[in-house]
């Protein structure tokens, strides 16, 4: 791994972690339940992006499977929570 690529990866992951911390702030503080769902969705997406950058860092395509799984779970959970807030039940 060349120093250029390594520093780019460190920079990107630093940005992601700061972004995750900010979203976590919104998750804790968020005045309404929708805010928390939105922040949780953003956190899941950032976790997926981190995994994809780690795949480049460790040269292993196995990380993609984990990234796909995280994004699927993130989608299902935020959709279920939004649906619950909308109607009061998940499955009508």
């Amino acid at each position: 791994m060349s120093p250029l690529l390594f520093s780019a990866i460190v920079f990107a992951i630093g940005c992601y972690i700061t972004a995750m911390a900010l979203a976590l702030l919104r998750l804790v503080r968020g005045p309404s339940a929708q805010d928390r769902v939105l922040a949780m969705d953003l956190i899941c997406t950032i976790a997926m992006l981190i995994l994809m950058v780690l795949a480049i860092r460790y040269r292993s395509a196995m990380y993609f499977e984990a990234a796909l799984l995280i994004s699927i779970f993130g989608f299902v959970s935020s959709a279920a929570m939004a649906k619950f807030l909308l109607r009061g039940e998940v499955i009508e």
Partner: protein, 127 residues
Amino acid sequence: MIPPLPLWIEIPVALLLALSGLFTLGAAIGVVRFRAFFQRMHPPALAFSFSAWCVTLASILYFSAQDGVLSLHAWLIIIFLSLTVPVTTLLLSRTELFRRRNAGDPDMPPPLSACVQPPDNGGPPQH
């Protein structure tokens, strides 16, 4: 030992990764700083669209150059995100409209069709 990649591959990959980091940071700043919920819903789309595209492009470039085969695996992530993000966004915006209208918020626009109008006469909210 894997030989190092040529510089003309590494520079675009590094640039794309840095760009995606910056846009994700922007998305999180937007989520924290705006006051209205609908304003806050826009910035996360930065992370869902442009950041994800940049990382995907970077990983396609990197793995294709490393293996010597076109490795389009990461496209799946973009396809998947473009299918799921609209669903979540739509549900969340409808939730916000529904709950704020039921709470009687004057900032929310009136319903487009008369049959979903919440009761004006102080009736119980439809929960």
